[in-house]
Symmetry: C2
Subunit: 305 residues, 2 copies
């Protein structure tokens, strides 16, 4: 398996961490980064992690995917704010049997790659982790870390299982899921309130849960996401809410990536996290989602600053 060539497109917090784990375990990993290439080349990749710190002094890093050559596994970990640009970035990496693994939040990303390169190539991964990038080539992994990996266009789960095994051998907890859509919606139950309201109000997780009103806001928003999921045929249950609240209280003051994007005036992943879910729910006849709708308006208004 270690002769597999892996390309990580997007060496941010998530791509840097998970790609870094694979490189540390001896895999042939190349990274594409939009920024910070000088720092990577000068001092490699530095990871502080609850699962063990590590440094990769020499990293294969590029700012042009055409220079990377084709890859067997393409891990797309760019933020989903400029989907159109992804295709051009990924095209030079795609060979006859390349797999494309969308390691991103929200909905709609696999569809883009499936349309462009064929659904049979595409898998999705969902990271349940608290991870931040503190400098171009410094990553801090604070809590959790599970990857859930599933096929997008294929009923077989064997490829997903082989990728899961590769991550497990690289100190990354991972599991294969039979229903990627289910897992994506399940993750949205957390992402929409904590990324969404966290960015809109500029509050970390403990800030959102520090008042009864804030916890109500989070819980009511989660209930809407579950209603939206149910409308599109995903059987999430309201009992997830208590579990998510309790798990999040254990995270302390976690600043989600979207809150950090807001603070740094970067583009927000609004479409994948909120726009697409609302659109799918509306197509299924569920339009009474006032907190999600209001949140979409709030985040869209912030994009104009």
């Amino acid at each position: 398996m270690k002769d597999r060539r892996i390309a990580v497109v997007g060496a941010g917090a998530v791509g840097g961490y998970y790609g870094g784990r694979l490189a540390q375990a001896g895999h042939h990993v190349s990274f594409y980064t939009r920024s910070g290439i000088a720092e990577f080349r000068a001092s490699g990749l530095h990871v502080s992690s609850i699962a063990g710190d590590f440094v990769l002094p020499h990293v294969r890093v590029f700012d042009d995917t055409a220079a990377m050559g084709p890859a067997d596994l393409i891990i797309v970990s760019l933020k989903s704010t400029a989907i159109e640009a992804y295709l051009d970035l990924v095209t030079p990496l795609v060979a006859k049997d390349s797999m494309i693994l969308c390691l991103q939040n929200g909905l709609g990303n696999e569809e883009i790659f499936a349309a462009a390169f064929g659904a049979q190539r595409v898998l999705g991964a969902i990271a349940f982790t608290c991870i931040n990038r503190t400098a171009a080539n410094h990553i801090v992994h604070l809590a959790h870390g599970l990857l859930r990996i599933g096929e997008f266009g294929s009923p077989e789960i064997e490829r997903a299982r082989s990728i899961v095994a590769m991550f497990r051998n690289a100190k990354v907890p991972a599991e294969a899921v039979a229903d990627l859509r289910h897992s994506r919606w399940e993750k949205l139950v957390w992402n929409i309130p904590f990324n969404g309201w966290g960015a809109a109000l500029d509050l970390h997780t403990a800030g959102l849960l520090g008042t009864r009103a804030g916890e109500t806001l989070v819980r009511e928003t989660m209930a809407e996401v579950i209603r939206a999921a149910n409308a599109v045929g995903i059987p999430l249950k309201r009992s997830q809410i208590d579990m998510e609240i309790s798990r999040t209280k254990g995270m302390g003051q976690y600043h989600t990536s979207m809150q950090l994007d807001r603070q740094n005036r970067r583009a927000l992943e609004i479409q994948a996290i909120l726009g697409k879910p609302l659109q799918l729910a509306a197509s299924a006849g569920e339009t009474n989602l006032p907190r999600m709708t209001t949140l979409l308006e709030c985040l869209s208004a912030l994009m104009n600053r």
Copy 2:
């Protein structure tokens, strides 16, 4: 009229400006301030105003209302975030015929004074103005400035008219209103979205109106305030929305007082602006106000920072 003793309780942007205009016109005005007394005593009150700049080099200013003596007209312009403390502050100023004029945003303030000192003493004023305090004793008046003044506990309008005349003679546009509740709700149509969402999202007025999504957020919130007003018997019309949007676009990048309070981590006037209106609407059977409810949760969550 100029032998009338006027006490301004709260020399912030609004109290400082309107009280300053009365002092400049020759009235006997004393100010109570919670902070900045040294600056007032050292260099007076400085006002930059679209209606003409002025400086009052000597201002009667106190940090203890007991030292001020009784007043004929008590203008309460404290923020409504510590209502309980007002009564103690105002008590030493109240004589047999004192009038109390609540120059504050939102609902519920007149009721507090009416219960403590008698409804017949109480009037309310609503300021339609863009005004900020840039230092303890420096006020910048940016736009508009109209005061609407009405009786709270009396069907007579004569006292309100005499106060209106006093302000008009002091370069302050003013008008008497027959229905104070109507005017307070009418103002809330603006205050709730612009103060509320402006503070929640940390966006100025032009920021809120700079995207289609932001304008939708504002318009939908205004529509809910109008529905809430209608539920409690105040006949506001949806045509007000276009007028408010158009007027606000003329203000440029106005930072509401609540946005500035958020930025400076001061208490937010949540109860008067949102809590009380929602409570009155609910008592009248209108509970389907999701944007107002969500906004109340957002602002309450921010109070815990």
